[in-house]
Symmetry: C2
Subunit: 397 residues, 2 copies
């Protein structure tokens, strides 16, 4: 039998997907499963985007430009400018989701054996994309006690080698819900300048910020134009995860010219979905106000409920729609599987994402879970109630 690649063997499996067969078991038993594990919002896509799809006026579904439709890029640059983020349409390549933007970014800067440093816990697919690019992730630990604030710069410096090509952050953070301050961003800026490496910021949750905080985009750091690569996506902004439209943004011309070669090789991002995304830019502010208010309410509800469980440690996230909670159980991989396979509370159970999958340091996050607050408040209250009862039962067996 012919051999598959080492790269293929090393590609990590999604920590959430591993649980999927057990969710099937729960469903086969007729149990209702509350999904606290996923990043698929239940928020409606703006009507203006859906209508653009319904009103599509094409007789041939042609390739678009490899960098994406120019009309979309121009409108997107206006969108950023309104947010006080200085991005020209020539600074961006429209990608097939934020995922492809990450792949292009890592392909552009990483060779076999190269490294990128990422504060952990981090979005599990960063590891997959690094592996696909022949490189690896070097984690720097952030802790639940600080709410997953930026680790000390000295901790990053200990890990920098000649193979280090970039520092990658997710801001706001998935899975942490942490929002880096301007001061933290400036510390990172000084660091990447000092070592002349890239700073990649995944800003796909940039809209989801609560309590009057503001998002400080990596694109706004003065004097860092050559070092910065931003990744963005419409997936969460407009609840258009299935559109698979993202973008790669940089002022570094060499980065953009190189990423463009990757973009040309795959021809173009999807045509219909780009049209929907262009229309979505005219989504009224009231849409976001409602969405943010809804998420803020869910967050407050979730955190209040979680804090009622003895032994739970959770810090109220500032942004995005995730939190990491430490549970009074021995091992959340086992616990999450048990919840689906063996537990129900009046015919209902919950699915959570064990946090070990968001760490690359072995042994980290073993008693933590990621909870996505993408359910309505009533369901969140019910879910945490189930979780509370389940912890009692789990710890008594």
């Amino acid at each position: 039998m012919p051999k598959i690649s080492n790269k293929g063997k090393q590609m990590p499996e999604s920590p959430i997907r591993k649980l999927a067969p057990f969710a099937e078991i729960a469903k086969k038993k007729g149990h209702k499963v509350y999904h606290l594990n996923i990043g698929q919002p239940d928020i409606k896509t703006p009507e203006i985007a859906i209508n653009a799809i319904k009103n599509i006026n094409l007789s041939i579904l042609e390739y678009s430009h490899s960098a994406g439709n120019e009309s979309y890029r121009r409108k997107l640059s206006e969108f950023y400018k309104k947010q006080h983020v200085a991005v020209d349409f020539e600074d961006m390549i429209i990608t097939t989701g934020g995922s492809e933007a990450l792949l292009f970014a890592l392909g552009t800067i990483m060779d076999q054996g190269d490294e990128i440093i990422i504060p952990e816990p981090f979005y599990a697919n960063y590891s997959a994309f690094s592996t696909a690019s022949g490189g690896s992730v070097i984690p720097v630990i952030s802790t639940i006690e600080t709410g997953f604030a930026l680790p000390a710069i000295s901790e990053f410096e200990k890990l920098i080698t000649p193979k280090t090509k970039a520092i990658l952050i997710c801001n706001p953070g998935n899975p942490t819900g942490y929002l880096y301050s301007k001061d933290e961003m400036m510390q990172l800026a000084a660091l990447v300048k000092k070592y002349d490496i890239f700073l990649i910021a995944d800003e796909v949750y940039r809209e989801f910020i609560y309590d009057g905080d503001t998002h400080y985009s990596v694109m706004n750091i003065p004097g860092l134009e050559e070092h910065v690569i931003m990744v963005d996506s419409v997936s969460k902004r407009y609840s258009m995860c299935g559109a698979r439209i993202g973008c790669l943004v940089s002022k570094n011309k060499e980065v953009m010219a190189t990423a463009m070669k990757f973009a040309q090789a795959r021809l173009s991002p999807p045509t219909v979905e780009q049209i929907a995304c262009e229309a979505a830019i005219d989504t009224p502010d009231s849409y976001f106000e409602e969405v943010i208010s809804e998420y803020k309410g869910r967050r407050d509800t979730l955190i209040a409920e979680l804090n009622k469980i003895e032994g739970v440690i959770v810090i109220k996230p500032k942004a995005a729609f995730y939190c990491i909670a430490q549970l009074p159980v021995d091992n959340t991989d086992k616990f999450a599987q048990w919840l689906l396979e063996s537990y129900d509370f009046n015919g209902e159970t919950v699915m959570v994402a064990p946090a070990a999958g968001f760490y690359s340091t072995p042994g980290m996050g073993l008693n933590q879970v990621r909870i996505a607050y993408v359910l309505n408040k009533e369901d969140l209250i019910r879910s945490v109630q189930i979780l509370k009862e389940a912890i009692k039962v789990y710890n008594s067996i």
Copy 2:
């Protein structure tokens, strides 16, 4: 300034894109440019697919399954079965275009320094995808005199090393229009079995076969289930290039499980376009009959006209909608650029794809061009007339 990757530096630029700035020059001069250079058909997308988009009934544009919607995969497997190609829905992963299927296939089997052997001339992006996967393409030369038939198996064997992971063919061929016979496929089958390597077949032009020939799919080779990976796409079948929907097909469970890790990392293929593709499977046979008849007519016209030019060598292609023509000029890179930059025939000129970009052996294909017959017959006749006049002028300066 931080450094980009060697991989990024090595990524080849598309041979056609290099000419794009010169096409702009021609257009700025007010010249009409006939595009013989591109693979974007002018054929209408089936109405049934466009209507599926217009009638979309979604309020949230959600992620689909990472392997694509199961309903689409099941229907697609029925489509293949009608074509006597035995593919189950579990043997496929829906990808973002045939491009992503190629990337998944190469990522699954290639590590840094690995090689794949491809008969040249070949679709230029195969090089790009190999580079992105850390490997490289080893070409085996096929010749215009044989119409680009399969090179002797002994020529392949000379190139096989422990680093050889696969043989990749495009069948029917872009840019050659060649259709491999069952006998040629059997020769390849014996070869990959002997050396226990993969056989990857890009079959995206499988529908475009003229003169009563039949396509012998790589999936139908008996006993080769573990060695075969097929790449397909809706781009040409339904003139839906912009949908970016393709698929990766294999009966090898390890290949599929590994490719699935790449698929999960990028989450899912586009949702709306998958719905359109599922609907497209019900496209009536009459659509294909018309399209094939149209292309056959175009091919016959093109070849007849090209043969009227003294010094042109071209063999009538059996399939797809391309041919490679040898022109009586010194260098088609220079000639193609000159056509756009400096030539016009009554205000009109043509854009062709210099064939050197489809070879990886330096110096090959220098007097060849790829012509795509994706224009109507009248325009094809006019284009070749311009080409004929242009060759005269070019050779007299």
